[in-house]
């Protein structure tokens, strides 16, 4: 009886729940046992370390993991590989990336860049005196957080200074960075506070779609749901794509968690890894911009296409 593991960051984020559903379907198809685990919060390294150890104890063939702390987990992954387990990293690459057997992920910087470029081109001339609010993830800036944030800035044409850190820029168009913890309620509070500082905001970058939904409620409450403010996000979950359709979110970079998980299980089960471009270093499961208002020079898919590919 073959055991393969899947370890995600948390258990409640729909992104990971869908990833798990994808893995479950694949496991049933392959006739293997899937053992799942998750951290207790986004950033919980110790929970993931214990999960890996338990998989070793369970005699698993290998596992896929979305690392909470891309550096701190490395020695434990090494331990698992030494014990003969195949390890495939999903969503958030390790540092160094080659510490895993393979990485299947969204290119988060690119995901940010896509919405940044789209926002910039959509605004056109107005882009040069835009007022931008950033609803980021957490004070300690985990990888996804700065990758998407800095990617957006690069796409929008802002000088990012240190590309692995936000908050050090001096572009006048940046009005404020607020913390949303990727949560809808906290996203709303963050947007409310941002509105106090930047009453004339017209672009809102959000770390993910729950934060975007919260921001929308805050904007709606002050009558700024009239199209004067553009929200961009990352995820491409079904509620998010529907929000694009409804005009709540202007554009979102869609990720493909089910694909990541299914591919990973297949690869561990068969022992055959897909072709990986050495220049990138990981298998890019792709990020596509979903928007109802495509602009030239920024590849995008329609809402209808997005809805077909969406998760959760």
């Amino acid at each position: 009886d073959e055991v393969i593991g899947l370890i995600t960051k948390t258990e409640t984020n729909p992104f990971f729940v869908k990833m798990r559903e994808g893995a479950q379907a694949k496991a049933a198809e392959l006739g293997i046992t899937l053992q799942t685990a998750a951290g207790k919060y986004d950033g919980d390294n110790d929970g993931q370390v214990a999960a890996i150890e338990n998989l070793i104890a369970a005699g698993a063939k290998g596992f896929a993991i979305v690392p909470s702390d891309s550096k701190a987990i490395v020695p434990t992954i090494q331990k698992a590989r030494d014990a003969g387990l195949k390890v495939i990293v999903l969503d958030t690459p390790l540092d160094p990336m080659n510490a895993a057997d393979a990485t299947f992920a969204t290119d988060n910087r690119k995901a940010g860049q896509l919405i940044g470029e789209w926002a910039n081109k959509t605004l056109g001339d107005k882009a040069k005196d835009a007022k931008i609010v950033f609803l980021d993830l957490a004070t300690n800036q985990p990888t996804v957080d700065y990758l998407r944030d800095q990617g957006f800035m690069q796409g929008f044409g802002i000088d990012v200074k240190d590309p692995n850190k936000y908050g050090d820029e001096d572009d006048a168009r940046i009005c404020t960075h607020e913390i949303s913890q990727g949560d809808q309620e906290k996203g709303r509070t963050a947007m409310e506070n941002a509105l106090q500082k930047c009453p004339d905001v017209n672009v809102v970058y959000t770390i993910n779609e729950p934060a975007a939904a919260g921001a929308w409620e805050a904007l709606k409450a002050v009558g700024k749901d009239d199209g004067s403010v553009m929200i961009v996000s990352v995820d491409g979950g079904c509620p998010g794509v529907k929000n694009v359709q409804a005009g709540v979110i202007g554009g979102t970079s869609q990720q493909y968690p089910l694909k990541m998980a299914a591919m990973a299980l297949e690869a561990i089960h068969t022992g055959k890894l897909p072709e990986i471009d050495p220049a990138v270093g990981f298998f890019d499961t792709g990020a596509q911009l979903v928007t109802a208002k495509p602009v030239d020079g920024v590849p995008s898919i329609t809402v209808e296409e997005g809805l077909k590919l969406c998760w959760g």
């Binding site: 960075h177 309620e185 409310e192 500082k197 529907k242 929000n243 959760g312």
Partner: protein
Amino acid sequence: MSDNASGSGSAESGLAGADQSVASFDETDVGLVRRMQGFLHQYPTSIPFIVLLVGVVIFSIAAPGKFFAPFNFSLVLQQVTIIAVLGIAQTLIILTAGIDLSVGAIMILCSVVMGRTAVVYGVPVEIAFPLGLICGIACGLVNGVIVTLLRLPPFIVTLGTWSIFGALNVWYSKSETIRSQDMQEAAPFLQWTGSLFKPYDFFSKTLGLDWTFLKGWVLTYGSIVMLLVALAVWYILNRTAFGRHVYATGDDPDAARLAGISTTKTLIGVYTLAGFICAIAAWVLIGRIGGVSPQAGQTANLDSITAVVIGGTSLFGGRGSIIGTLIGALIVGVFRNGLALSGLELLWQDFAVGVLIIVAVTIDQWIRKLSA
């Protein structure tokens, strides 16, 4: 033995004609300070209120123009509403010397039950909403029954049910978000707590009063629900027998039992009521985020306990008040909002919140000592 000692009988003969007057002392010293002291001594909940005012003054200076504005005050009120409602539930529990780690989980579970039943399963909101309330009552009842019948520490029980309710949430919600738009279509009533009440419009329309000073003030109906819940619980605690039993149970459970109170009934009542209030919080939550998000409210437990403790309620039970909790929630809300507006770097905002919490409670204790 002295020759005077001839039993208690002889001593008592001295009692004839004993003074029957009640002790009384002249209250001559009635300067302003003493009157202030007397006031604070009699109304100790006014003390955290003073601390709150101090906070408001400081931030009005630190973030000029932005912080001190009717609109911003309305915002702060909206931002603290959920934690305040949960804080009321938590106050009830903490007054009995318990603690409830499951309030956040109950709230999410009930919001999922209300929202998903109505929107995804298409059940009329007239049924889905009461179902959500029953969910809260049931969760609270489970807590209460385990705490009393198995005689386990509330910390353990609610730690366990936190896990259990959380699992049920994942199971029932399938971790799927419900969008504000879908909610608006299927069950707008659930969003009502998020809609705005404008006192100026209200008074000018209904009573024809042109109270311009009210212009700019807005309230969500959620905030009004919060105030009503607070009022009701205040009444229960202070004006009914059940309320007295809550205090007695928390103060000294053995004494309460010996005095003939059923601490079991009291505790089950408290946990159930708290569960019901968590369900109300779920309604307020839906109003605030427009829809349902199964991952919301993860810090709600600690935040609600914080509001209670800053509001002056003792974690050891038997001492505290609902008004304190409301003010406690507001104090934290004002600090967070004020610091966010102050433009301080995020990292130093965290630092400042920590310092301010300690300072606030220090001032509180200091005034209390002066007025003792």
